[in-house]
């Protein structure tokens, strides 16, 4: 497995673990104590606003640890920057993740149109965001491994 494949795997694991961990924490903290909170728009706004910086910081930390660990273990020279192939793979992966997120956004709006409430809408929207992140990393892994 190359450096770039391992880097994509780190992003995949970090994104999934942080998002799932955060929402398990949110649900166990609030859903059990006050079920009405789940349909409160300001609650969801706060939950998402907190998640974004937390996720960015933790993913950056995960990458720093990965780079340090990789440099210590591997004798291979670490790529100083992304080249044309890396950029092309990133673009293709981002395109795939946008497809997934667009589908999720459409489903979230459908949930609102069907009067399913903010809880279902945000659940669909956040799941789509998580899934789009997963699709981005998996697409990168696929393109690095299989070629294009």
């Amino acid at each position: 497995m190359t450096f770039q494949e391992k880097r994509s795997l780190v992003t995949l694991i970090a994104t999934t673990a942080i998002s799932i961990g955060y929402f398990i924490y949110i649900f166990t903290q609030y859903a059990n104590t006050d079920p009405q909170t789940m349909n409160d728009l300001s609650f969801w706004g706060r939950a998402v606003l907190i998640l974004i910086p937390v996720q960015i910081v933790l993913i950056v930390l995960a990458h720093i640890v990965f780079h340090i660990g990789y440099a210590a273990v591997s004798r291979e020279k670490l790529p100083a920057r992304d080249d044309e192939r890396d950029k092309l793979i990133q673009l293709k992966a981002t395109r795939n993740s946008y497809y997934v997120f667009s589908g999720g956004f459409f489903l979230a709006m459908t949930a609102l149109a069907l009067n399913l409430g903010p809880f279902v809408m945000f659940l669909v929207l956040i799941s789509a965001a998580l899934l789009s992140g997963v699709v981005e990393s998996v697409s990168q892994l696929y393109f690095y491994r299989r070629g294009f």
Partner: protein
């Protein structure tokens, strides 16, 4: 795997250059070693600019480094 109709002689040309490593070639043309490996295995078709840079390293015309095999037209 995506079928790429561009083949290349990079492995052979590296051998004739005193077994130049993939990393050395990568440094000379400004890409990562993994990209050179992917090009060699025909897993990635380089941009025209990169293809010219690789040919320049071996001091050969482009068509002696890269060979294009067009797929037969379906009738």
């Amino acid at each position: 795997m995506a079928k790429i109709s561009i083949q290349n002689n990079i492995r052979k040309l590296r051998f004739f250059r005193d077994e130049m490593t993939q990393q050395e070639l990568a440094d000379l043309v400004g890409v990562t070693r993994q990209t050179v490996a992917a090009i060699e295995k025909s897993k990635y078709s380089p941009s025209l600019e990169l293809a010219f840079r690789i040919a320049q390293v071996f001091e050969l015309p482009l068509e002696e480094v890269f060979i294009y095999h067009p797929e037969p037209k379906k009738t």
